[in-house]
């Protein structure tokens, strides 16, 4: 990918308070609406989890659209959106060099210990 890479991840949940929004943001024409990836944190979930994608004219409207598309049935309490173009992903071509070496490193797994009964989440 030749996309310019930025490292501005970690957006917090974007609040939509009762105030009327009064600052217009620069929007793009409809044909240029970028693709966004949507992450929702469920009521019980620990992490934001990817749920799908959508098109929106800008970041704020993407949060709104995500609310309408992906949290209609009480699924979430927090939404993140990020432009798909801003995601840097590992390449399928690199699958073996990336992941295969982990397959035989049994010593990386804590399977040689007795786990005390009162230690959860191992």
């Amino acid at each position: 990918m030749s996309t310019d890479l930025t490292a501005e991840g970690g957006h917090g949940a974007v609040p939509t308070g009762p105030e009327v929004p009064v600052e217009p943001k620069a929007s793009t024409a409809r044909r240029d609406w970028p693709l966004y990836e949507v992450f929702v944190r469920g009521k019980r979930g620990l992490n934001h989890v990817h749920v799908g994608s959508l098109h929106a004219p800008d970041d704020e409207m993407a949060v709104h659209a995500a609310r309408d598309l992906y949290t209609r049935r009480n699924e979430g309490v927090s939404i993140w959106v990020v432009r798909s173009a801003d995601i840097t992903a590992s390449s399928p071509d690199e699958k073996d060099p990336m992941f295969a070496p982990n397959g035989d490193k049994v010593y990386r797994h804590p399977t040689f210990y007795e786990i005390p009964e009162n230690v959860p989440h191992m």
Binding site: T16, P18, V20, P21, V22, E23, P24, K25, S27, A29, R30, W33, V40, R41, G42, K43, R44, G45, L46, N47, V49, V51, L54, H55, A56, P57, D58, E60, M61, H64, A65, D68, L69, R72, R73, N74, E75, G76, H121
Partner: protein, 303 residues
């Protein structure tokens, strides 16, 4: 994995793992535990008539918003408008059911067959001149710009009202208003975002948004003069005199339009509401033909 694979799994797990989360889960009944007896000194006929006004506004605007389904400029926006419509439908159901429960049913109860609940009888079996919705919500959608301007105006008015109705002496009205406030806050917010973007967008979007403002603005004339029913109920703390909403509504609309670089038209000459007086206008009549046709042709239909 130490945590749930997806939020949907988590949701399913949280509600007994029945695999039915898609049908809705974890919802609250907004009227749970609410005393439904009519407060002392309140005329049930007035209370029912007031519920019809507010319920009809919601029902008619819902129908207008759902007319965008399959026609909206983007799929995402189609769902957004439909969601707003469904919120309003929920409000309409509660309000029409309240009207029915206090005995305000008119001819609809004799036209509707027995198993049809009161709220459906009122929605489907009243004639246009029995509706009490404002002309603001009955007006056609126009283009998308006009639609979001109307949604902004209607939700700003209704939010200002519901915020006050949370203190109503009628516990049912208060509960319905409390449920509606966050919904209407979202509708107003959503519409305002679009008005800002269209008004301060391209030359064409500005032109259309301004045309929408110019079309919608005269419809505000009807919204701020109390009917006799509203005046009597406001005096007893059940309803709100709509004149009290004027400053807030006008302030919100002016703020959004100015920031959207749109011209704010002169405030229209206020007049008693034609819609509340049972003057439906041809647009509402056509809308109701659409809304009611199926139920009237097949009154026993279920789905």
């Amino acid at each position: 994995m130490g945590h749930e694979e997806t939020v949907y799994d988590a949701l399913d797990h949280a509600h007994g793992g029945e695999g039915q989360w898609a049908f809705g889960t974890g919802f609250d009944d907004p009227l749970a535990g609410v005393d439904t007896t009519v407060p002392e000194g309140i005329d049930p006929a007035d209370l029912g008539a007031y519920c019809l006004m507010l319920g009809d506004d919601a029902l008619v605007l819902c129908q207008r918003l759902t007319q965008w389904v399959t026609n909206a400029p983007e799929l995402e926006e189609e769902v957004a408008l439909a969601n707003c419509g469904l919120d309003l439908l929920g409000q309409a159901r509660l309000l029409l059911a309240r009207a029915g429960s206090v005995g305000v049913l008119g001819r609809s109860r004799t036209l509707a067959t027995d198993p049809v609940p009161d709220e459906d009888a009122l929605a489907y079996f009243r004639d246009p001149d029995e509706f009490r919705s404002s002309w603001l919500v009955a007006a056609p959608n126009g283009d998308f710009g006009q639609t979001v301007v109307r949604l902004l105006a209607a939700s700003a008015w209704r939010l200002a009202l519901f915020a006050r109705l949370r203190e109503s002496r009628d516990p049912v009205l208060a509960a319905i208003a409390a449920k509606g406030v966050p919904e209407l806050t979202y509708h107003r917010d959503h519409a305002a975002r679009w008005v800002l973007r269209l008004g301060d967008g391209t030359a064409e979007s500005h032109r259309r948004a301004q045309a929408g403002v110019d079309t919608v603005w005269p419809l505000l004339a009807d919204l701020f003069t109390a009917t006799d029913v509203e005046a009597r109920l406001a005096a007893t703390g059940v309803a709100v005199d709509p004149a009290q909403l004027r400053d807030e509504v006008r302030g919100v609309l002016t703020l959004v339009l100015e920031r959207a670089t749109l011209t704010v038209p002169a405030w229209p000459a206020e007049q008693p509401s034609r819609g509340r007086a049972g003057e439906p206008g041809p647009e509402l009549t056509a809308l109701l033909a659409d809304l009611q046709g199926l139920a009237r042709a097949h009154p026993d239909a279920v789905w």
